[in-house]
Amino acid sequence: MTALEIAFVVVAVAGVIGAFRVVTARNVVHAALYLVITLSATAGVYLLLAAEFLAWVQILIYVGAIVILFLFGLMLTKAPIGREALDNQRRGVAFLVGAAILAGLIYLVVDAFGWDETRLDPIQGTATEVGGSIFSRFVLPFEAISFLLLAALIGAIVLSRKDDPVVRERKERRA
């Protein structure tokens, strides 16, 4: 194993432990904080794969924005504490499905790419490279995705408006 691979294994193990804790944590806020560990570890993997720009985007968007959004979502909804309250009764079936998918994927990956044959020789994923590709070959997808993001944000504001007439009418009828 090279030093790079040892660094990768350390970061990946941290990410996997974080992911396991996200799906087993008894407290929803802890789950969100373990998600931070997993997302940061993924950013570390991007850095080790020389995808520099993507690593910083991952930190900015995922750790900086999406996790904060999750924390706000958790604060605005009352969440109980404890596994029984947060998990449903079919944990065994879910575990079997997850394990089957994992086994299948690992078999396929090793079967297709071998263990020692394929080694990555990374190209630099700097902001220059990525930006050049976006604004030369992928301008139309870029515009489409900007529009999607705008539509989603406006939709989220419309959905969660407090003075929604439908909600108010229902509340009044109930009261």
């Binding site: 993924t42 449903n88 080694r119 990525v130």
Partner: protein
């Protein structure tokens, strides 16, 4: 240099964990978090293959996936908060009006 299979197996573990979370959790926000884990696994795969094929396109698409994930979380949490306001619960197994 890093073996491609190691990166792909890391992403497979993240994806399988996300699948378990989606199936086993009943709190809607935790289900959304598990979906984020799965999207993240897809991004790791995209970057790994971008480096394997010596082609920057995979990283560009990983950026697009991050954008879609942000949009999805925004809409998803708005829906969750709306459900909470109407039903006072966000357990996905209790919101079954559209179930056959």
């Amino acid at each position: 240099m890093i073996r491609l299979s190691m990166v792909l197996i890391f992403s497979a573990i993240l994806f399988a964990t996300g699948v378990y979370g989606v199936l086993a959790r009943r709190n809607a926000v935790l289900v959304l978090m598990s979906i984020e884990l799965m999207l993240n696994a897809v991004n790791v795969n995209l970057v790994a293959f971008a480096q394997h094929l010596q082609e920057i396109t995979g990283q560009v698409f990983a950026l697009f996936v991050i954008t879609v994930a942000a949009a999805e979380v925004g809409i998803g949490l708005a829906i969750v908060i709306l459900i909470y306001r109407n039903r006072e619960t966000i357990n996905v197994d209790e919101v079954n009006l559209l179930k056959w």
